[in-house]
Amino acid sequence: MSGDGDATTTGRVVLVTGGSRGIGLGCARRFQSLGDTVAVTYRTAPPPELAGPRPEDLDLLAVPCDVREPAQVESAFAAVEQALGPIEVLVANAGVTKDMLLLRMGEEAWNEVLDTDLSGVYRVVRRALGPMVRAHRGRIVLVSSVVAFLGSPGQVNYGAAKAGLVGLARSLAREVGSRNITVNVVAPGVVDTDMIASLGEQRVEQLLAMVPLGRKASSADVAGAVAFLASDDAAYVTGAVLPVDGGLAMGL
């Protein structure tokens, strides 16, 4: 950690899962701007900027990882640790949706979302934790969703997984608090990403009508909250859920 008196923590190794776009990429860029060394995992495609000829110029390590596969989680972490050193900040962001009404939601749609959005977080958090425990230092931020609290028709699977993250975070916060490791949750609302676009314009308009701040969040809005929870300023914050939803689910 830098000793220049700046309250902002810099120079750490940060891993963001699902960091090729959306909130994850926004977080990666934010940590980079703070002076951290950042790696991202991606499943479908690496960050678009990295498709260019010289990805090393961007100083962002991108490793493939489907969080449903324990072996891929292990190899992704091993690759990051080997290239950058021990991971001090983990942002568990990788997630998917497969929306449909429960009456139509078969086992496959349920399992796919739970396996990525909840079990995938279990896998990456568990893998990240050992070195953090040994180092007596660490920050874990889980990216949940306003849907965990507000509910959303067609998202029984997603809502269950995202609510599960809150319970995961709180129990884990109690397990590892003595090691100076904090575990917190952000609950984004309507964020301007591909995932929200897939809801359809009408549903987005409906949601925005209930947002006191009257606009979508940008990925950077969410990244700011994540960066705070990972910072020294949040040293005494653990097991917390920080909504970043423009007021959409306030009080829930």
Partner: protein, 79 residues
């Protein structure tokens, strides 16, 4: 590896993970009362021992393990 060498290696792991002085790591020492280790310390110690001795310890095997001597027996029986 002799028994003495094995115990020394075991002891080194315990000293490193639990941050206790060497003379406290004796067979009759109780992890909780004598070495001030909490449950997470013990998990860490087991992980360190698994790595150092290249063995695996199942969660169920840890039941009832309260002293350094008991833990050492568990590990050395696997070698």
């Amino acid at each position: 590896m002799t028994d003495v060498a094995t115990f020394d290696k075991f002891k080194a792991c315990a000293i490193d993970v639990l941050q206790v002085p060497a003379d406290k790591v004796v067979p009759e020492a109780r992890f909780g009362d004598d070495l001030d280790a909490d449950s997470l310390d013990l998990v860490e110690l087991v992980m360190a021992l698994e790595e150092a001795f290249n063995v695996t310890v199942d969660e169920s095997e840890l039941e009832g393990i309260e002293t350094v001597g008991q833990a050492y027996e568990l590990i050395s029986a696997k070698l």
